[in-house]
């Protein structure tokens, strides 16, 4: 049955005949006040709402809609009436009559195809977000990082510096001879690596065997690592690796990537009903995979620099292996760095006999080793 608002004579009417006035069978709210009116209904050109023989309103059949109501009660609204005007019908006979007359009553009700549509669009949105996180964000980070002014990066570095220094403990090591040797080493690597961004490299008196590059070209070599090193080549390759991060502007990329994934995952799925842990794990996985890519690129850079200097990159792999040992574990996919054994393997492949001069003299190397003892 199609909707005919102006149908004057209905022919296919069940129980109550056209024009028949039903017994007081409805409650009417006119949408202006909350007065509850007991009304009678007459089905003629539309639903005629009658109170004491006075027609209060006529709702054309085609414009009557079902409103949400209590169980066993049919609550109606009308598209052309006041938005909050309502008819409430409890009586079965009257309900049947309304349903028979008003074909369009359920046009806004949710149907099965509607649910399918929600599912479809949700899945589509999910796919596009995952695609964005896996491909779009790294791409954007690669493109955006070179545009970010170095001065901004430096500000981020200054902000991070305080926290990092507090966490690591330790002071700047300023032994004059050691610093001179360190600077000489860094300068050689900068030159070989064609790095034209400013750097600011120091040794920190922390026991932790590590080295790190902060945004803005600040590089810290920790004394713990220095003490574990057996030759200048080991240290040189590590510095080259960190300068690789500087050259690739990995810190800026990382900020863009973390910001992007937090936004996508945190906000869009922020309320998957407390599935926070899954979101957290997915983010960790994604961030770790970005990070492993960056570390791998920095390793490649270090290998390249060492080749140009005529030295073998193998000692770096050996140093790392000495520190971490075999790393393979069930949690390797969460690791921020490639596994040490794989890195060692790569460096073995890149091994070439030394052709260039030693990077530091024995005296310089001793001075560097003692930089924090001054």
């Amino acid at each position: 049955m199609d909707a005919r608002p102006d149908a004057t004579t209905e022919t296919t009417v069940p129980p109550p005949a056209v024009g028949e006035t039903l017994a007081p069978a409805a409650v009417y709210f006119d949408g202006k006040t909350n007065r509850k009116r007991q009304v009678t209904l007459r089905f003629a050109g539309g639903i005629e709402i009658i109170e004491d023989d006075r027609i209060l309103d006529i709702w054309p059949f085609g414009e009557v809609r079902r409103a949400d109501g209590p169980p066993n009660m049919l609550r109606l609204a009308c598209v052309t009436a006041l938005p909050l005007a309502r008819l409430e019908i409890a009586d079965q006979r009257t309900k049947a009559a309304v349903l028979a007359h008003c074909a369009a009553i359920d046009t806004v009700e949710r149907t099965r195809s509607n649910t399918l549509r929600i599912v479809f669009w949700s899945v589509a949105a999910f796919c596009s977000i995952v695609g964005l996180a896996m491909f779009g964000i790294p791409y954007a980070a690669d493109r955006l990082a070179p545009i970010v002014p170095v001065s901004w990066e430096k500000r981020m570095g200054d902000a991070a510096d305080g926290q990092i220094r507090t966490m690591l403990g330790g002071k700047l090591c300023t032994g004059a001879e050691g610093q001179a040797a360190f600077t000489a080493l860094v300068d050689k690597i900068r030159e070989a690596g064609e790095l034209d961004l400013p750097t600011d490299a120091h040794v920190l008196s922390s026991e932790i065997p590590n080295a790190l590059a902060l945004p803005g070209g600040r590089v810290y070599m920790l004394d713990g690592l220095l003490q574990k090193a057996n030759s200048p080549d080991e240290i040189a390759a590590i510095i080259a690796h960190e300068l690789g991060h500087v050259k690739h502007r990995d810190n800026v990329k990382r900020v863009i990537q973390t910001g992007g994934t937090s936004f996508l995952f945190g906000l869009l799925f922020g309320d998957v009903s407390g599935a926070g842990a899954v979101i957290f794990v997915s983010r960790q996985l994604l961030d770790a995979s970005y990070s492993r890519d960056a570390e791998h690129d920095a390793d490649t850079y270090a290998v390249d620099v060492m080749h140009r200097l005529g030295r073998s990159p193998l000692p770096m792999g050996e140093l790392l292996f000495r520190i971490t040992g075999k790393e393979k574990s069930p949690f390797s996919i969460f690791a921020s760095h490639p596994l040490t054994e794989n890195r060692l393997e790569d460096m073995k492949k890149a091994h070439r006999p030394n052709t260039g001069p030693a990077l530091l003299t024995d005296a310089q190397w001793r001075a560097l080793k003692n930089i924090c003892k001054g």
Binding site: K32, K36, L84, V123, M156, Q163, G259, F263, V278
Partner: protein, 402 residues
């Protein structure tokens, strides 16, 4: 009551005096709600959470339409589409805010190490803003007898009040909490109206404190005393801690019942008053059921994880420890555990929705008596609906209510 009409009821000149007091009646159709919540949770899983807007709307429609005040149930006129649009708008607004928050954090850190921490305060206030706006959305979508509720006031103003009162509550180790509740409720209610009928809140902080002083006195004692005891003599301390944890749901139920009664009896719309007889026994059962389900679900989840690990090990694991470790890295293992976890989270949320939303709503509603409802006759419709931005913000910030 619509089919038992007497003729004089039809006469507008002589409106019969309705009874001075009437109960709110909640029609308990728990199986219907349970199906709705379970189906919703399944669809949430399939739609990676996007179904939440439709589920929230369905739940509200159910609760609103099953609660009758003097025989007439309110209507929830909000739609899931509004919530979705509100959410998308919230995303658009939050994006620059997140960016600014990030940059501000960097600048603050640069000036002083760890100075960025107080910015979390801003976040807390922003959440309060969102909560206020979300309440406003829900109220303006609530229609009773053809007239809607409205809410004015300002979310920012409210957030600032929350900030100051929370600060005071912190300074007074919680003793200011009742006055904080009263002040915030007063602000919300004096900006609330039903049509032309102005709302207000007459509950006082002193009133709440008088009825629940035992809670405010014992809470600091327990919070400080138990850790001290554990340090002094671990054996006794842990026993006491276990006892406290066992007793806590009872105490919490007693307090919540007091708070509900206080809140309900403080609400006024014009001369319409409310009163609640909610007892702690109405709540305690619900809490234990939720606790029981939580325990059951965690046991099931551990069994599931154990099973997945076992199967993966049997299929992919070799004899060596290394092969076994490698096996655990299979995407199947992670996916299996992840799906099990998600399913248990959704199951828990379904439990929460059934007990702590549906059942709690029902019990609170059934406990309420409305006095002098005659004062709410011939109330005129006024006020505007507001958009769902507040709900969207609340949703993005993970604080969506029912």
């Amino acid at each position: 009551m619509n089919d038992v009409l007497t003729p004089q009821l039809l006469s507008p000149e002589l409106p019969p005096a309705p009874p001075a007091s009437s109960r709110i009646e909640f029609t308990n159709e728990r199986p219907v709600f349970r199906r709705l919540a379970m189906r919703g949770a399944m669809l949430e899983l399939i739609t990676v959470g996007f179904y939440r807007f439709w589920l929230a709307t369905d739940m509200r429609r159910h609760l609103w339409s099953h609660t009758a005040v003097e025989g007439d149930a309110p209507e929830y006129t909000g739609t899931a589409r509004e919530l979705l649009i509100g959410f998308l708008f919230a995303l658009a607004i939050l994006m620059p805010i997140y960016g600014a928050y990030f940059l501000l954090g960097i600048e603050a850190e640069r000036l002083q190490t760890f100075a960025g921490t107080p910015l979390a305060l801003f976040y807390y206030l922003f959440i309060q803003f969102a909560i206020y706006r979300a309440r406003r959305y829900r109220l303006t979508r609530t229609v009773w007898r053809g007239v809607r509720f409205t809410m004015g006031g300002s979310g920012i103003n409210y957030a600032l009040r929350v900030g100051l009162w929370t600060l005071l509550a912190l300074i007074t180790v919680g003793f200011a909490m009742p006055w904080r509740q009263a002040a915030l409720e007063r602000y919300k209610m004096r900006n609330t109206a039903y049509g032309s009928l102005q709302g207000r809140f007459e509950g006082t902080g002193g009133g709440l404190f008088k009825r629940s002083y035992w809670m405010w006195v014992s809470l600091p004692i327990v919070l400080i005393g138990v850790p001290v005891l554990i340090v002094q003599s671990p054996g006794v301390g842990v026993t006491v801690l276990g006892f406290v944890m066992l007793v806590f749901p009872f105490v919490y139920a007693a307090f919540k019942a007091v708070e509900w009664r206080w809140w309900v009896s403080g609400i006024r719309f014009g001369d319409v008053r409310f009163e609640s007889e909610l007892g702690s026994e109405d709540l305690i059962g619900l809490y234990w059921k939720v606790i029981g389900w939580a325990v059951l679900l965690s046991v099931l989840l551990s069994m599931w994880i154990g099973g997945v690990t076992g199967i993966i090990y049997a299929v992919f694991g070799g004899s060596s420890a290394e092969a076994a470790m490698q096996a655990m890295q299979q995407p199947f293992a992670l996916a299996g555990i992840g799906i099990g976890y998600l399913a248990s989270v959704l199951a828990f949320w379904t439990v929460m929705r059934i007990y702590l939303i549906h059942d709690l709503w029902g019990r609170v509603a059934n406990s309420v008596t409305v006095h002098n409802l005659a004062a709410a006759v011939d109330v005129a419709e006024q006020g505007q609906t507001v958009n769902a931005l507040g709900e969207g913000l609340a949703d993005s910030l993970d604080i969506g209510g029912f």
